[in-house]
């Protein structure tokens, strides 16, 4: 890590820590932004680096959400009675119970999806190209439909997550969830960045560029694909657990396994920012979130229309994303050596 990078990272870190105090009214929005960045960054491991366009990372997100809430409740109260009461305050968590519960819940929410990814990885990651995409799409929707039929986690009527205990009111709740999600984001970023600086990233790129050849070179591609998916699942589950607490209410198809919103958002954000780059998903998620919030507020009711148009426009006209566009414009900044005469000749050709 050189000096410039160090300064950049410390500025971002300080800004991140100070953000809830600079923009006190947007704490919830900032927390959601952190979750979105986590989702986009982890999707990028599959879609960008590995070339496996997954619609199914939403599975781990939803799984984490349900697991975290279930553990949070189940540690202290009977789960079935909680979901049956439908958010009535029959049981109240003491502050101590709440924080213990969410800590345990988040650990479970991260670890179990990673294990699930490891278990199903061998079967699912053997598919390639669009078969993988459609199969994971099916997986996500199936999870939503099936969890909507399971009684103990609320079935169709939803699952109310434990409310924040009575310490410090709304301010404290916002700050708690912001710092929780920011911590998760920092962890994700450090993990992904350190993974990308090893041979692992080169292997993933080899899989993307030509999997058969990578296998012929002696790389056990399946092993690395599964590890990549497990990393994604781990952080997706964590993000889901936090989001469950933040939203306060879990519905099977509209919040947890929401393929129409989150499932598409993560793909879209990574593509908007630039697939296969470290910073692309972060930038994409930020731009997308700002755009979305503005649009959602002014065009209430038309948001899905806007979303559909946005997907089509980004995919057709802007598939390289912001980072890809920057790279084309300033290749020197990305460490590419460019012959000046050659570049001028190309410009003239255009």
């Amino acid at each position: 890590m050189n000096k410039n990078n160090l300064i950049l990272y410390s500025i971002i870190l300080i800004f991140g820590l100070g953000a809830p105090f600079i923009f006190p009214a947007f704490k919830v929005q900032l927390s959601i932004l952190c979750v979105l960045i986590i989702l986009a960054t982890t999707w990028n491991i599959q879609g960008g680096e590995m070339g496996y366009n997954s619609f199914g990372n939403i599975l781990f997100y939803g799984l984490g959400m349900y697991l975290c809430a279930s553990v949070q409740v189940g540690m202290f109260f009977p789960l079935a009675e909680w979901t049956e009461s439908g958010g009535e305050k029959t049981f109240v968590h003491t502050p101590e119970q709440f924080f213990q519960g969410i800590a345990a819940g988040l650990i479970v929410a991260a670890v179990v999806p990673a294990i699930v990814a490891g278990l199903i990885g061998y079967s699912i990651l053997g598919l390639r190209g669009h078969y993988f995409a459609i199969c994971t799409l099916g997986l996500g929707v199936a999870a939503g439909e099936i969890s909507g039929g399971i009684e103990i986690i609320g079935a169709g009527q939803g699952f109310t997550t434990p409310p924040f205990p009575d310490v410090g009111g709304l301010e404290a709740r916002g700050e708690f969830f912001y710092f929780l999600s920011f911590l998760a984001l920092v962890l994700t970023f450090i993990a992904v960045r350190s993974v990308y600086s090893t041979r692992f990233k080169l292997i993933l790129n080899a899989i993307r560029d030509n999997e058969d050849k990578a296998e012929a070179m002696g790389i056990q591609t399946m092993k690395y694909k599964i590890i990549g998916w497990m990393i994604s699942a781990f952080f997706c589950g964590l993000a889901g657990g936090i989001m469950g607490g933040l939203v306060g209410y879990i519905d099977s198809t509209d919040v947890a396994f929401d393929g129409r919103e989150m499932g598409v958002f993560m793909v879209l954000m990574a593509i908007l920012g630039g697939k296969g780059t470290l910073w692309g998903p972060v930038i994409g998620a930020t731009v997308f979130h700002i755009f979305k919030e503005g649009f959602w507020t002014f065009f209430l009711g038309w948001q899905y229309v806007a979303l559909g148009v946005l997907i089509v426009v980004i995919v057709i006209y802007f598939p390289e994303g912001i980072m890809g566009w920057l790279r084309e414009k300033y290749p020197e900044k990305f460490g590419e050596v460019v012959d000046e005469a050659d570049r001028k000749a190309q410009v003239e050709l255009k």
């Binding site: 366009n53 699912i124 199969c135 559909g308 148009v309 057709i316």
Partner: protein, 297 residues
């Protein structure tokens, strides 16, 4: 869990017949998908939404006092032009590109259509009543609505008509030539752009027919599109591209599977079981192929 469906033989017959009639309808949608997948190499996630849109056309005819049965003629004509419009606006820009781009772009169209239909027609589950009555079989123990029989017959009629059209007509031959080798077809004077547009239009028209039939026999709702896409995708991958008898058979198989899943697991798991079946089929084929060190591509 009680398996009443296996203990009462008449229920089994009922589920079987329902499933077969439903499956013929699925096969018609899958036929459209196989057509455009084979010709343009595009997977259209918005397929199901085209079906629902076709259904709403028939439903509106019903609302204005025209018998919804005529929807099977009006709906494909309108949907043909809708299909051409979608092709001109979006699809022609993704034809030669990566398949994932087409999946994502049509996913966007799907979301757009879903919401526009939700605005235009409301979020209620609707049904166009055809007043065809019902047929009782086996001593009144098996009930078959005549509308289901009607829809199956119309589907078969359209499918056969299209097969003949593809074999005999000039456009049909051009479409088949483009599917075999687009470049060679272009060299030999086929306007592939026109062929693509026509293919997508025909696909949309088939969806329109199927939608009109679905609005008569079942119910339609703006958000019910995606399951139809997944069903047709599943049918096509089981049957293989360009295998029409296979499409018909696997369509009926899927219909029967769904009816039995409905009886055994309960209605709330019906859609879930369809999606799960897709995953299982893909995984099964992946393991079967990996024995030969091949993969689905």
């Amino acid at each position: 869990m009680d398996f009443l469906v296996f203990q009462v033989p008449m229920l089994t017959v009922q589920a079987l017949l329902d499933g077969l009639l439903l499956g013929i309808l699925f096969a018609l949608i899958a036929y459209g998908m196989a057509l455009q997948w084979g010709v343009m190499n595009i997977i259209n996630i918005a397929q199901g939404d085209l079906v629902i849109l076709g259904g709403y056309i028939a439903y509106f005819m019903y609302l204005y006092g025209i018998h919804p049965g005529w929807g099977v003629i009006v709906s494909p004509i309108i949907m043909y032009f809708v299909g051409i419009g979608i092709y001109k606006l979006v699809i022609n820009k993704v034809v030669d590109r990566d398949l994932f781009i087409s999946i994502l772009a049509t996913f966007g169209i799907s979301i757009l259509f879903m919401q526009l239909m939700n605005f235009a027609f409301g979020a209620d589950v609707v049904l166009a009543n055809s007043n065809y009555g019902t047929t009782m079989l086996f001593d009144n123990s098996v009930t078959l609505p005549n509308s289901k029989i009607f829809s199956a017959l119309i589907s078969i009629l359209f499918a056969i008509g299209l097969v003949i059209y593809m074999k005999k007509s000039k456009l049909g031959r051009a479409i088949r030539a483009t599917a075999q080798n687009a470049r060679a077809a272009k060299i030999l004077g086929v306007d592939t752009e026109k062929v693509y547009a026509a293919t997508f239009g025909i696909n949309a028209a088939l969806c329109g027919v199927a939608g009109a039939l679905i609005s008569i026999t079942f119910t339609i709702h703006p958000y019910m599109g995606l399951p139809y896409t997944i069903r047709s995708f599943m049918i096509v991958i089981v049957a293989g591209l360009g295998n029409l008898p296979g499409v018909a058979l696997s369509g009926m198989g899927l219909g029967v599977f769904e009816e039995f899943a409905d009886y055994i697991l309960g209605t709330e798991f019906r859609i879930g079981s369809v999606f799960l079946l897709l995953v299982l089929i893909l995984v099964y084929r992946r393991f079967k192929l990996s024995r030969k060190r091949e993969y689905l591509k």
